[in-house]
């Protein structure tokens, strides 16, 4: 890019990001002037990912599966249909698969080749999910990765890593924490973290979350 632009010196993140701001603004201006993009459409895309499409959607599905055995069966048999029935703003694609953690089996999701992730139920992936440390190690040393997240599982627990190498998208159905008997779906959903649905974490215990 050209370095002749005036830098936005009062930008709080320093000149590198200011350069990126300028460069992205230049591209958006060119594409708008050429009639390729509508800035109003761009605004709506950003707004959707900042507000409506996020892990709160996946948490609702998990909490419902914990209290509703029929929904749990549907989620595990056809996650696209199950999640689709919850009426999110962004409908799911047709290749969503939910995999269930049990005392004997712990599932973890990765995309070693790029950053495939179930956007519709979890939103945009966190930076670590797209990073070289996670993508390289998840398939060869998942217990080491879990340690980085402060999670330690019994040696006999089977660890199953799902590498998202096609358009199939995976989410983990974490185990329901003990001590939550009688909790409502809404209250249970507060225990369901994003990481627990990727498999790098567990659902929160009662007391670790606001009721």
């Amino acid at each position: 890019m050209s370095h002749d632009h005036d830098h936005d010196h009062d930008h709080p993140h320093g000149s590198e990001l200011s350069e990126m701001q300028l460069r992205v603004r230049a591209l958006e201006t060119v594409l708008t002037e050429k009639g390729y993009v509508d800035p109003a459409a761009l605004d709506l895309i950003v707004e959707a990912y900042e507000t409506r499409i996020g892990p709160h959607n996946g948490a609702r599905a998990v909490a419902k599966a914990w209290v509703d055995p029929a929904f749990r069966r549907t989620l595990l048999a056809d996650a696209t249909a199950a999640v689709g029935s919850l009426g999110f703003t962004s409908r799911v694609g047709d290749h969503l698969v939910a995999v269930e953690n049990t005392p004997k089996l712990h599932n973890m999701i990765v995309c070693t080749l790029c950053s495939c992730y179930p956007w519709e139920v979890l939103g945009l992936p966190p930076t670590w999910y797209k990073s070289a440390p996670y993508r390289s190690r998840a398939v060869i040393d998942p217990r080491g990765v879990l340690e980085d997240f402060g999670v330690s599982l019994p040696a006999e627990t089977e660890i199953r890593v799902w590498d998202s190498t096609a358009e199939t998208r995976f989410m983990v159905l974490p185990m329901r924490p003990p001590g939550t008997e009688g909790w409502s779906e809404e209250k249970l959903a507060t225990l369901v973290t994003r990481d627990s649905m990727i498999g790098t974490g567990l659902a929160k215990r009662p007391g670790a979350a606001a009721p």
Binding site: Q21, K34, A41, R160
Partner: protein
């Protein structure tokens, strides 16, 4: 291609560092880059595998040192220039110098909700699936110089078919403009030791989503 993007099993990148309460975007430009990519992807000038391939072709030093959305920006600029939709002088000037070309379709604000739904990659099969659930198969030892979704760590390895996922657009051909060429897709499960040898964690299993042309009978 055996590119830097194919990271599975590499060592030495250090611990996974997660950020507490990470924002969706760390700066506003990241959201604009995402939106620009989605809007131009909607135009059907290229498909998702062509855009993945464009990132994979990036020089390894750039791939490892640029942030995620910075790579998306480089990729989009490159695709637009390569296809003659903009030129480098326009980018440098920050303004169009000539009118745009007609697009197959343009994303209007009213269509954004629809555009955020993932497309379907399932297609009608032209032949029955070659492999069955429970069957043991070997992945091919293949090294195409173009886009593929068979990671290096899982090539030439024996696994068990766990699930038949239907017939899908084949990334290896659609990425190079050689057609959708639909192929059966399987979940293929490997024992950790098959991938990583005797010292592998005995409790580990790993699966990939494998297209039929990646597989051969054992």
């Amino acid at each position: 291609m055996n590119g830097i993007h194919d990271l599975g099993g590499m060592q030495g990148f250090g611990p996974v560092e997660s950020e507490a309460n990470e924002p969706v975007f760390h700066d506003t430009w990241e959201g604009r880059v995402l939106a620009l990519n989605r809007a131009m992807g909607y135009a059907r000038l290229w498909n998702i595998d062509m855009s993945r391939a464009a990132i994979e072709k990036m020089p390894p030093d750039l791939y490892l040192t640029r942030s995620y959305y910075a790579k998306w920006l480089l990729r989009l600029e490159e695709l637009l220039i390569e296809r003659g939709l903009i030129d480098a002088d326009e980018l440098a000037a920050g303004h169009a110098r000539a009118p745009g070309k007609p697009l197959p379709r343009k994303l209007a604000a009213a269509e954004v909700a629809k555009a955020l739904t993932r497309g379907s990659f399932a297609r009608e099969p032209s032949a029955p699936a070659r492999f069955k659930v429970g069957e043991r198969v070997r992945t091919r030892n293949m090294h195409p110089a173009t886009h593929t979704r068979l990671p290096r760590y899982a090539r030439g390895r024996v696994g068990t078919i766990e699930c038949v996922r239907g017939c899908h657009v084949f990334p290896d051909t659609v990425a190079i403009g050689a057609g959708e060429n639909p192929q059966w897709l399987y979940t293929l499960r490997f024992a950790g030791r098959e991938l990583w040898g005797e010292s592998a964690d005995p409790s580990l299993t790993v699966s990939i989503e494998a297209f039929e042309p990646y597989l051969e009978a054992v």
